[in-house]
């Protein structure tokens, strides 16, 4: 990288915006940026575009929270309906609270090595599907399982310092689906 006369490559700009540069690389990059309005404009506009197209982690959390609340309200209404009618109802609901499908982990701060997803068994479950997404809601990995735990393959790269969401859906023999709801963890190293 030539500090003053050569413009920064797209790869370098992306690395800077994603904070993937070493201190030395960053300093050289910023040295160029301070002197080059064109590259600065590229960084400024790309940051603005990314902010627009990528929902922030906070927004994702709010969406997840709203979804969870809606599920709970729906479940509550369903229970009330059952109580009112005093008769069983048959639904093909996707639910969390009434399914008994519970995510055990990972949650909170975790290390990347040996990361294993564990959830409770669901009576009558035929299969489980796990989905892992990053803070931008982009899928990182998904897999099907018949057991109630699965290890993250070593080939799936997770970023240190980033948050991830995961969910397990179970398909039961009666055709209903059940979900653990979204769970969050952060990779600390």
């Amino acid at each position: 990288m030539n500090d003053a006369d050569e413009h920064m490559t797209d790869m370098l700009i992306a690395s800077y915006l994603d904070r993937r540069m070493s201190d030395i690389e960053r300093e050289r990059f910023e040295n160029h940026l301070a002197e080059c309005p064109e590259c600065r404009q590229a960084v400024i506009e790309a940051e603005s575009l990314l902010k627009r197209v990528r929902p922030t982690w906070r927004v994702n959390k709010v969406v997840a929270l709203i979804a969870a609340v809606l599920v709970l309200v729906a479940v509550d209404l369903k229970v009330q309906q059952r109580d009112d009618l005093s008769a069983p109802t048959t639904t093909r609901a996707t639910s969390t609270a009434d399914s008994g499908l519970i995510a055990y982990g990972p949650s909170g701060e975790v290390t990347r090595s040996g990361l294993r997803f564990v959830w409770s068994p669901l009576a009558g479950a035929i299969s489980y599907k796990i989905l892992l997404v990053d803070a931008s809601s982009l899928p990182v990995w998904s897999a099907a399982a018949t057991d109630t735990s699965i290890s993250l393959p070593a080939t799936v790269a997770l970023r240190t310092g980033e948050n991830y969401l995961w969910v397990v859906d179970a398909l039961a023999s009666d055709g209903t689906t059940h979900s653990t709801g979204l769970h969050e963890f952060r990779v600390n190293r």
Partner: protein
Amino acid sequence: MGAAAPFELSQLLRAVDSSSQQAAWEDLIARHTRLLLAVSRSFNGGHDEAMERYTYILDKLREDDFRRLRTFDETSGARFSTWLTVTARRLCLDHLRALYGRQRESAQPNRIYPLRSIRRALADSIGPEVDVERVIDEQSPSLIAQTVVVERDEALRAALVQLKSRERLLLALRYEDDLSAARIARIIGLPTPFHVYRQLNTILEKLRLSLESRGIEGVDG
């Protein structure tokens, strides 16, 4: 730790036949259409112009057996979507330049910073003293006042080049690009806008001391 290339990109670049390559290409575009459209629409013009840019981006990404896509370096750790945003924006600029020609860039061999804005910030940080520039603007410039400005700007330039890269970048983003502290914080990775303000104040204080050490008492000359 490096970010893995998206599955569709790996599939595309490793495809052994044209049908699987086409399928992977369609998957890749489907996944990033929202992003590419956002970049296309971020430039002036209506729907037709945006779609023209979108098509141009796709054509260029396909060109020469996906030459551009092959430059994505997953070992850099950068996300593919970040790289794609930067690349798509650059392609849109290329498209505009092809249509309307390159905008003449201002030749400023001695441009380092918008000195006037920095002087103003320094003056604001010191207090409401007489500003020579204003005096010159409002009255007919005297030779003495002009000389003072020239000397002061030379001293300021000399002080600026002594700053660290990040300090000069902060000044450029704030006083040249006129960005808010919140945007600067996001761009350079500071936790809050308050960190930006604090660092800017420190830099301005450093500049003031540097000017004083060169015999210039206050920016108002």
